[in-house]
């Protein structure tokens, strides 16, 4: 993994609390992600890796599946104090 690149949902460890720091997709779909509850500052956990980089994200009791392309564009950082 390129350590100079920001950590993304695609590469972050499983079952670790992470905070979303950026969502680098087009405006229309970024807003949809927001409506799904995935906003900058939201704490999430990646709980399942699927094929072609797809990931399942847990946000509380909610489960959201995203494809590999999108997972690579959601930047995260380890959540502090959780």
């Amino acid at each position: 993994m390129d350590t100079s690149s920001p950590l993304t949902v695609e590469h972050c460890p499983l079952d670790a609390d992470m905070t979303i720091t950026a969502i680098d997709i087009d405006e229309r779909h970024r807003f949809r992600m927001l409506e799904l509850g995935l906003r900058v500052g939201t704490i999430i956990r990646v709980i399942q890796k699927s094929n072609f980089g797809g990931r399942v994200i847990a946000k509380g009791t909610e489960r959201i599946a995203i494809d590999g392309h999108t997972a690579a564009r959601v930047a995260v950082t380890p959540a502090e104090g959780v």
Binding site: H29, R32, G54, A58, G60, A65
Partner: protein
Amino acid sequence: MTSHHQGHRRGIAALLPSPHAHDDDTHAGHTHAGKPCCDTGGRRVAGDGMPRIVFIGNPNVGKSSLFNAILGAKTRVMNAPGTTVLLEEGVYDHGGEDWDLIDTPGTYSLLPLSPDEEVAAKAVMGTGGQGAPDAVVAVVDATNISRALYFLATVLELGRPTIVALTMNDLAAKQGAGIDAGELSQALDGVPVVEVNGRTGAGRQALMDAVAAHLGGTPMPHGLAPVDPAHIDVQAWVEGGADARFDWAADVLSCLDMHARDRVTVSDRIDRVLLNPVLGIVVFLLLMLGMFEATTTLAGPAQDWIDGSVRDWLTTGIDWVFALFGPSALDTWFHSLVIDGVIDGVITIGTFIPPMGIMFILLSLLEDSGYLARAAFVMDRAMRCMGLDGRAFLPIVIGFGCNLPALAATRTLPDSRQRVLVGMLVPFSSCTARLSVYLVLAYAFFRDQAGLVVFLMYVCSIVLILLVGVLLKQVRFRDVRSEPFAMSLPPYQVPRLVTLVKSVLMRLWGFVHGASSIIISMLVVMWFLQAIPATAAAGSFAHVDDVHDSVYGVVADRVAPVFAPAGFNDWHASAALMTGFVAKEVVVASMAQSYSIDTGDEDEQQQGEGSLGAAMRASFDESSGGHGRAAAVAFMLFTLAYTPCLATVAELRRQYSMKIAMQSVGLGLIVAYILAVVAFQTLRWVL
């Protein structure tokens, strides 16, 4: 008359939708399109006096199950005006007062990303020619409460009387996040909240009572500002207020006594297998194989029983009734019409009930269990090349068994454009009915390589689906493109038997109801064409000895020259293809009949290698100038690509519209003709 139905199995079916299904005019009458609402004593009701209640919510929250539990068999499916987006509607009797209930496609937002979401948004906003709802039932999923509250906030801001139907609360409770409906209502400043269970129907009466009690209006919770959807920039309103709505949702959540624990659930454990990068695909493919087998192998004996025993019983019964009028009644044209036209139609519909019933059961199981959303995720990448949802894989695979249940399976696609695109691709899936044609011709013309030839026809089918898919995407579905995949996964649930049986019976009734009229009328037309003598020596009405001497034979003669560039300018072939338009199962029987060959109980190999094969070789060699094998390949390719059967045409019309059904027929004929001509003109140099 010798009818074509002999040897016919599981095939001839043609269907017209019910008089109201997909009828935009009818729909308009029920949704009060363009009609102003009026004030009836403080209650807004639509133009025809029926309050219009719109159900809205996120996808996979049990909204449709709840809707069906409330309405039961009174539910009917229709297209939203001017679209192929499906809406469910029904009239509900509440204490003697009729309400117009409308179920909308699931959506995460009132800012739509697809036509389906647009229809849902317009229905709840009362824009786009749709009347304003007199009340909104907002279905809120307790297991995804923060997102559901965000969406609820946008719905509440519309200012319509809104009643919250709280679903999945039992699952939320298992996760330690159960919600008290009264507490939530209090947190919403008195907006009524009713806990319901769409799978069991529990709470539905209380919900409808709450709707009745609040048709006059519901409170606007503090922190939300009402808007007039007819006079706002929807995008600016939805986007501009998003943060405030999330803050509002957080405030509401803080008022609730919830003990949500972020822990590993049973669904998470199941997903470790079903969404595993490797196992997930293996399980999905095994499920597809199971569904394929169920709709073909498992349904086969039941279809044979209906086509054999039930047909015999009906025929015997009708013969008995006719015999009451004397022995000569059995030899009348009317007796022939009833047996070879009407009863053939009834049996044809009957033979499609087993595979359709099995498909409806399996679809309900997949939907109700929560797996279908996972299937979309697992196959997302594979179908992305055509801009399709992962769920599109299902109908295409099923199509290789039978195209009819495959078209039914397109209903699982949430995007109406994708639904139509896949619906137009399904007929290119080589169903088992076409296999009988391949086998006979392969053994007749390529005895030693028959297996290879049949295999290559299936390869051609897959290539055709891909090529036509890419072509349609470029020409007709340019707006269908790969979208980022982001979907909420519902928790797994064990499907309820009673709900499943009800749902399957309702769907089956919809199919039979839509099927019966056109199938019978088309077969009656076919009967008349074959019953009318066209030559002096042909015999009398309904007693034409040779089908070539009937009007049907004359039409086949006229059509045959069209196929000269494909190498089979022969009336036997064109008559078989015309009959094959009704059902592919009858192509071989039609050929045998036109050559006056009794194939008896011979299987396809014996037919191909026997006298039928010899007659076909002679005909095709003659019509192709000595390139019979090239013409045979062209004939098989034409059979592969043109309309599978009238049943699929009618189902396309029932599911989408007559225009799309006709486009599909035209596309199939054009592709089939080009394919056959190119194949013959190329292969005649080597075969």
